[in-house]
């Protein structure tokens, strides 16, 4: 089942054209890693796929299912606790019970930090709060921009496991990362070097 289709997508930022001719079709069960050097337009492409950027984006992008987009900026409020951040997350439209949120926080090893302001946690822990949202969403397609940043080894392993389970259950994931392949056979690469405008 197709979750997202992009045809002949071109992306401009400012006066400069970054990418052209990007074709992508994402089906359920697939993991796509977007590769490319710094500044090639990985984040811009993800924003365009999510539907956030329309200015400077040409071509057609069809989204068939609700998606979850996790940007560099984690969309969490430093003044609020991890619990409140997850309960009042602006993009999440399903209702989670207290137990479900606590379970998600436990999964990202933030048990005991539920009621501390997120601002007082470390960068990696803040990242974990943002990632805990993956467990509280019913979106089939995940767009993750550098999800492994600031995570320690166990965090990375947890996230890999989480992606595998999501894909196994019929979801799909597009993520950017500079790390070498993490998902082996499961994964397909989208190398933006082929689409860069030189």
């Amino acid at each position: 089942m197709a979750l997202l289709a992009a045809a002949e997508v071109a992306i401009e930022r400012g006066e400069r054209r970054l990418l052209h001719g990007v074709n992508l079709s994402v089906d359920s069960g697939q993991v796509w890693q977007v590769l490319g050097a710094n500044g090639v337009g990985k984040s811009s492409l993800l924003r365009a796929l999510a539907g956030l950027a329309r200015l400077g984006v040409e071509g057609s992008i069809s989204r068939f299912e609700p998606l979850l987009y996790l940007a560099h900026a984690p969309a969490i409020k430093g003044a609020l606790s991890p619990f409140e951040n997850l309960r009042c997350h602006p993009a999440c439209d399903i209702i989670s019970t207290r137990a479900q949120i606590e379970l998600a926080l436990q999964a990202v090893q933030l048990r005991g930090f539920e009621d501390q302001p997120v601002g007082s946690l470390s960068a990696g822990q803040q990242r974990r709060v943002a990632l805990a949202r993956l467990l509280l969403s019913d979106a089939r397609l995940w767009l993750l921009d550098e999800p492994f940043t600031a995570l320690d080894r166990s965090g990375c392993e947890w996230l890999e496991e989480c992606v595998r389970r999501h894909v196994g259950a019929g979801g799909a994931v597009i993520f950017t990362s500079h790390q070498p392949s993490r998902f082996g056979e499961l994964q397909q690469d989208l190398d933006l070097a082929h689409y860069a405008v030189s």
Binding site: A50, G51, L52, A53, R54, L55, P66, L67, Y69, A71, H72, A73, P74, A75, I76, K77, G78, A79, L80, E84, R87, C88, H89, P90, A91, C92, D93, I94, I95, S96, P117, L134, L135, L136, S137, D138, R140, C162, R165, H166, A169, G170, G171
Partner: protein, 233 residues
């Protein structure tokens, strides 16, 4: 995780959640809430020092002074209304939500108004007494400020949404919204002056009420559209 069996959020609940999120973030930084009140207090204490302590002169100027200071206080805080949401990525997530951006933004605007304009209106009689405003004007001052600051906050929300992605957009914001604030200022001062004179201020208050109601209906749409434009750059 795919969990399609969980209940979905109603529109009203989405509004309430955004209201709660923004309200809690505001409450956590008391300085941000106290700032406009402190500004109001300082300016009001400076006026008698500059104009001289003649009570009749101060009382005659009080409605205008109080309203101008309220307008400036509101301008000062509305510039940052969506700034933190833009910086931490919350705005992007609001734009991706299943519910209309206009409704989510209205939740924030209302929380913002309660923490700034509403509080300011409630404590305004204290400042009015410092300027010697006759007591028959106090009630009307509070009512006019309640309606007026709501209008000012809504106008400020449009300006803030339009300029949030611009670095140092403060000056542009002032240029954009001060002209729009003028009618509110005129109605507000007219209502209080009328009440002090012993007349009937209800015409002015009705005009302000109509303005506030109209804006509550239309401004969220403008804010939603403006936020999308700001995110799109």
């Amino acid at each position: 995780m795919l969990s399609a069996d969980r209940p979905h959020l109603s529109l009203l609940a989405a509004f309430g959640r955004q209201f709660r999120r923004h309200g809690q973030a505001l409450m956590a930084s008391l300085a941000e809430v106290a700032n406009p009140l402190l500004f109001f207090f300082m300016v009001v204490t400076l006026f008698p020092l500059g104009l001289g302590p003649d009570p009749t002169q101060l009382a005659a100027m009080a409605p205008g002074v109080l309203w101008v200071v309220a307008l400036l206080a509101s301008l000062m805080v509305s510039a940052r209304m969506f700034a933190s949401d833009f910086e931490d990525g919350s705005l992007e997530q609001m734009a991706l939500a299943a519910h209309p951006l206009a409704v989510l933004a209205l939740g924030e605007v209302v929380a913002h108004w309660l923490a700034t304009g509403f509080l300011l209106a409630l404590v305004s009689p204290l400042f009015a007494l410092m300027l010697g405003l006759p007591s028959q004007g106090l009630g009307v001052l509070v009512v006019s400020l309640l309606l007026g600051t709501l209008c000012l906050t809504l106008i400020g929300a449009v300006g803030s949404a339009l300029t949030v992605s611009i670095r140092r957009g403060g000056l542009l914001l002032s240029l954009l919204i001060i002209p729009l604030n003028v009618p509110v200022l005129i109605f507000g001062t007219a209502a209080v002056t009328e009440a002090v004179r012993g007349g009937d201020p209800s015409t002015w208050l009705a005009l302000m009420g109509a303005l506030a109601a109209g804006m509550l209906a239309l401004v969220p749409l403008a804010v939603g559209a403006a936020l999308r434009i700001s995110l799109d750059s």
